[in-house]
């Protein structure tokens, strides 16, 4: 339990200190409370939405009217570091993934119906690309018109490892077209994300960054060993454009040097040319990347042999002997060895095992196909370059190469969170039948739900815990066959009804998902809430919407106490708004129906008191009888109704009520006298002689009516 710390009597300085056995430093959350100076009588702490604590500070009773009796504060318990992705960015990803996810689900449903699964991966690819674009743009920064000759690495937005993980999943599972040139896709992947690995390990990227920093101070690059090392490393992982750009910085290119170092320059240029002509087994290369692409294996094979022959020829060339610059000669020779696939040199110039792995694909085994052979190669590379601390991406790669679905799921969930696993499952199931079976199979130990549903439920719980994302949780919950609907109901019931916006949102979700019964209950809850808070109009509105006659009848009894009981009473005017709400006959109004008839009756009575036509009076009398006959007319109104209608009862021209009608009214009057004896009787605020005068008027009317008949 968090303890409360307070120094002296100053309650502006309350604090919650989390207590846990493993954390060495407790974290203190300070609470700002306004205007609470008196000693607190009570303090209660409970969980609010998500990871927020609700702290209620209640002051002692002896507080004057001007000051608040207490305060309720919410304290957000967050980890200080926050991780790679901020809360706002996570929400942006969550919002953005809703549309692609639901599109894919609806496509899945329609395709399953028509049993047409041939081009399914195209839909998955579309989905994957959209999700990937949410995680940041890889080539977002526009290239400057005049490129800085000294910039080898363009400054791009630091990619996030989540995107790197997503792309890995895409490469291996979604992109069926890329299966043939999988190694080349990994080359591209490493080019984009090698910087992420720099955090834990020395990498080629780190080497390049360091060299870039020192570049401005170096006079002649070719004398610098770093230059040649950087060149070989970059070449080994296939960053050809960087390598060629670096080579062109070679001092022999300078105008004043050209004459003296012709041979040397020729060699540098020859190597640069060979690099830019490197054969690649892929359909195309992105703009500004180098290499000659071949689509089919046989074409590539031919070209590759030719290319290697050229390298060998250059390697054996006599020009090397004429090259005076020792570093240049050694450096270039080293590069030729890399291109020829010298395993020991490759191992020397790379740092991370994945870099070595990529260099093997590029220069030794470009035809590696099948995960099995890829995995055995990876194991070899890992053995030669053991790593001290494993990056989370490496765990995922190994899982993928091992073809171990459980490991992939665990790595996705542990390292990249519930969002990743929920969305990446779509790729995994599209790419591997074995994974699909495992993920979609109902698991008795999970209570009969499948792994896919489990993760979706988990993700929707996270969405539900935030006030801004709870309303996208239903999208995921409705895709869960077994538990989704139940949890959706819970989620809707948890929403605060006091905010009309939230209530309307919940009702909209109910409408879209056909949860009319939940919507109905929500409207009832809202109605009762508004009633309790004195918003009578809203209360009646929501109870009417819910067609809750029971509660309408109950609140009607209370409402009638407010209604002015005399025709002359001006305050009845403000009831117009409420009456308007009750609307036409067909609406559920419960006991409130009376209000409408009462209003109509009053209107006609008013007309009677203004004009003096017998016809109008007759209509009023009819209305009086129907009101008195109606069981929904509350008893407390009987006397005032009759008292207001004295003029009708004493109508001069002729009696307006016949014998039967008069008897009915007399009976009601009798009933009323009996009811007076009951303890719960509410006496009307009419003059004391009212009863007497009504009785008299009825009696005389009865006499006249008998005479007339």
């Amino acid at each position: 339990m968090p303890g409360v710390m307070s120094d002296s009597g100053n309650y502006d300085a309350l604090a919650i200190i989390p207590h846990s056995s493993d954390a060495s430093n407790p974290r203190i959350y300070s609470i700002r409370s306004h205007g609470l100076t008196d000693p607190l009588a009570r303090l209660s702490i409970s969980w609010a939405r998500g990871n927020t604590l609700r702290v209620s500070l209640l002051q002692s009773d002896a507080v004057d009217e001007q000051r608040p009796g207490g305060q309720v504060l919410e304290v957000k318990l967050t980890s200080a570091e926050g991780g790679e992705i901020s809360g706002a960015q996570w929400r942006k990803i969550a919002y953005g993934s809703v549309a692609p996810f639901s599109l894919l689900q609806s496509r899945k449903n329609s395709i399953e119906a028509s049993r047409y699964k041939k081009d399914w991966w195209e839909h998955v690819m579309e989905y994957s690309r959209e999700i990937s674009s949410l995680l940041g743009n890889s080539n977002s920064s526009p290239s400057p018109i005049i490129e800085d000759a000294k910039v080898i690495l363009k400054k791009v937005e630091e990619p996030i490892s989540l995107k790197a993980a997503w792309e890995l999943m895409e490469i291996f599972y979604a992109d069926k077209q890329a299966q043939i040139w999988l190694p080349e896709r990994l080359v591209d992947w490493l080019a984009d994300y090698d910087c992420l690995l720099s955090g834990t390990q020395p990498t080629v990227h780190l080497k390049l960054v360091a060299f870039q920093k020192g570049l401005v101070t170096i006079q002649t690059v070719e004398n610098d060993t770093e230059y040649w090392e950087t060149l070989s490393s970059a070449l080994a992982v296939g960053w050809l454009d960087v390598v060629v750009k670096l080579l062109r910085m070679h001092g022999s290119y300078l105008f004043d040097q050209l004459g003296k170092r012709e041979i040397e320059n020729g060699l540098v240029e020859a190597v640069a040319l060979l690099i830019s002509q490197m054969t690649r087994l892929r359909p195309d290369v992105p703009a500004k990347r180098l290499g000659e692409c071949y689509n089919t294996k046989s074409e590539f094979m031919k070209a590759w042999e030719k290319w290697r022959a050229q390298i060998t020829k250059l390697d054996c060339s006599a020009f090397w002997l004429q090259c005076d610059h020792q570093q240049t000669r050694a450096g270039l020779k080293n590069m030729l060895q890399i291109m020829l696939g010298n395993a020991s040199i490759l191992s020397n110039v790379t740092y991370h095992w994945i870099e070595l792995y990529i260099s093997h694909f590029l220069y030794i085994r470009p035809f590696t196909v099948g995960l099995e052979s890829m995995y055995s190669l990876a194991q070899k590379c890992m053995q030669s370059k053991p790593i001290s601390s494993r990056h989370k991406l490496m765990g995922l790669i190994i899982g993928i190469l091992e073809e171990n679905t459980e490991v992939i799921l665990a790595e996705c969930s542990r390292s990249f969170g519930p969002w990743m696993i929920t969305h990446a499952i779509e790729l995994l199931t599209a790419g591997s039948t074995q994974a699909e079976i495992l993920i979609r199979e109902q698991q008795p130990k999970l209570g009969g739900i499948c792994i896919e549903e489990l993760h979706r439920l988990g993700y929707s719980q996270i969405l539900s815990s935030h006030a801004l994302t709870w309303n996208i949780a239903p999208i995921y919950l409705t895709s869960c066959m077994k538990q989704g609907l139940g949890l959706l109901e819970n989620l809707l019931y948890e929403q605060p009804v006091q905010h009309q916006q939230v209530l309307l949102k919940s009702l909209e979700i109910c409408r879209l998902n056909g949860l009319d019964y939940v919507g109905n209950s929500l409207m009832k809850i809202a109605g009762v809430h508004y009633w309790k808070h004195g918003k009578k109009g809203s209360a009646v509105f929501w109870l009417q919407e819910a067609r809750d006659e029971l509660r309408l009848n109950r609140i009607a009894k209370h409402l009638f106490d407010f209604v002015g009981k005399s025709v002359s009473d001006e305050s009845f005017k403000q009831w117009e708004g409420m009456l308007e709400l009750l609307g036409s006959e067909s609406r559920t109004a419960g006991g409130l129906e009376f209000l409408k008839r009462y209003r109509d009756f009053r209107k006609s009575l008013q007309q009677v008191s203004e004009g003096i036509t017998t016809d109008a009076a007759c209509i009023s009398a009819e209305m009086l009888i129907s009101l008195m006959k109606n069981p929904s007319t509350p008893q407390q109104f009987w006397l005032s109704l009759l008292f207001d209608s004295l003029k009708l009862l004493n109508w001069k021209d002729r009696p307006l009520l016949n014998v039967a009608q008069t008897n009915l009214l007399l009976n009601k009057l009798q009933e009323l006298s009996l009811a007076r004896l009951r303890p719960d009787f509410v006496d009307s605020d009419l003059p004391p002689e009212a009863l007497k005068s009504v009785r008299l008027a009825l009696a005389s009317n009865l006499g006249r009516a008998i005479l007339q008949e």
Partner: protein
């Protein structure tokens, strides 16, 4: 009209409760006023951002930010007659207070002028406010059924109670029709009340719907607009995609522009859920308007819970301007037309009629539409 509508979506990293254009001050930049809520720090704030329209790439830069004690429910702006660079802003809060501010467009700051305190003003949140055209008076309505008037010219912090329904009617929107008349919308059967300050004590005219075949007979009015040239016609939008026009001279009649609950709705309705805001759309050329008979309803723009921003014209198919996967909570049309913008890189000033609409989207972002 060949150019398509340009749409720019801008993530904002905070929930946007309300959005308004600030009155023009310079020809090349426009200012947008936002009521935002940062959920990470739980701080509500008012923000101004500068919008520089341009044909190639319009740019947006944040200008000023003022933290507030409570979230905003309704926001109104009005140009100041004395100082055009300091427009007046009225903002009502969830906690039930009303704030009056000025925005300094030159120095980029927001200044709180005075506020009407919560106590005794409204009980609970203020659901709607409206500033009169000259910015001298503000009317506010609340869910608890109170209507208050605040004069900006008299003593600070004072208000006058126009009516208190003691909870029998809940108001949700309000709009001035003339300096002495205003219309309130509320919870009920699309409840609309017409008030005249010269006739105190209650509403002068009540709207009584006579819609037949009405599946869902009731609804809440979320937003009202009245065109200055036709002050007797009141445009209202609310539940079930309903948008209708009501002429107080014939209080029992109304023209339905859009609805789903109604079988005899005149046109196909794009929107099925709540219409959050309605505004008359002055985009149509003025010549076209003068040709229309006065019984015809002027075109109206609406935004809705199901993420559609559309223009509805009487007797025509609605035009969809924007369809989002999330709700469009509010929008504002830049009233000052035509706007001038800079055609980079040639610095030619293009005086083509352009009109910008700014929308706040539920998923913490803004969208700015530029119509050619």
């Amino acid at each position: 009209m060949a150019d398509p509508v340009q749409i720019q979506r801008l993530p904002h990293d905070a929930y946007i409760d309300a959005v308004r254009w600030l009155p023009h001050f310079s020809t090349f930049t426009r200012h947008i006023l936002l009521a935002a809520f940062d959920s990470d720090t739980s701080t509500p704030s008012l923000q101004t951002i500068q919008f520089s329209p341009s044909q190639s790439a319009s740019s947006v830069t944040p200008q000023s930010l003022l933290p507030l004690p409570s979230r905003i429910t309704s926001l109104r702006t009005c140009s100041s007659a004395f100082n055009p660079s300091r427009p007046i802003i009225a903002a009502s809060t969830f906690s039930g207070s009303l704030l009056f501010l000025t925005a300094d467009l030159i120095h980029g700051s927001l200044n709180l002028e005075f506020s009407v305190a919560e106590k005794g003003f409204h009980n609970g949140s203020v659901s709607g406010i409206d500033l009169s055209d000259n910015g001298s008076e503000c009317v506010s309505v609340g869910e608890e059924g109170r209507i208050n008037l605040i004069s900006l010219e008299e003593e600070e912090g004072g208000f006058r109670r126009v009516f208190d329904s003691t909870g029998l009617v809940s108001y949700s929107a309000v709009k001035w029709a003339s300096p002495v008349e205003f219309v309130t919308g509320g919870v009920g059967r699309f409840s609309l009340h017409w008030w005249d300050q010269r006739k105190p004590g209650g509403p002068v005219v009540l709207f009584k719907e006579n819609w037949t075949d009405w599946g869902t007979t009731s609804g809440i009015v979320h937003s009202i607009d009245i065109h200055p040239s036709r002050k007797y016609t009141c445009l209202a939008g609310g539940s079930s995609g309903t948008v209708f026009a009501w002429d107080i001279r014939s209080p029992k009649e109304s023209t339905i522009l859009s609805s789903v609950g109604l079988n005899d709705a005149p046109t196909h309705s794009l929107v099925e859920s709540d219409v959050w805001e309605v505004q008359y759309d002055n985009y149509t050329h003025s010549s076209k308007i003068s040709n229309q008979s006065s019984s015809r309803i002027l075109p109206a723009m609406t935004c809705s819970e199901d993420g559609i921003l559309a223009v509805i014209e009487h007797g025509q198919q609605p035009t969809e301007l924007l369809a989002e996967p999330c709700a469009i909570n509010s929008f504002d049309i830049d009233r000052q037309n035509p706007s001038v913008f800079n055609c980079a890189p040639f610095n030619i000033i293009d005086t083509a009629t352009l009109q910008d609409v700014v929308c706040s989207l539920e998923w913490e972002s803004l969208a700015i539409l530029t119509r050619p």
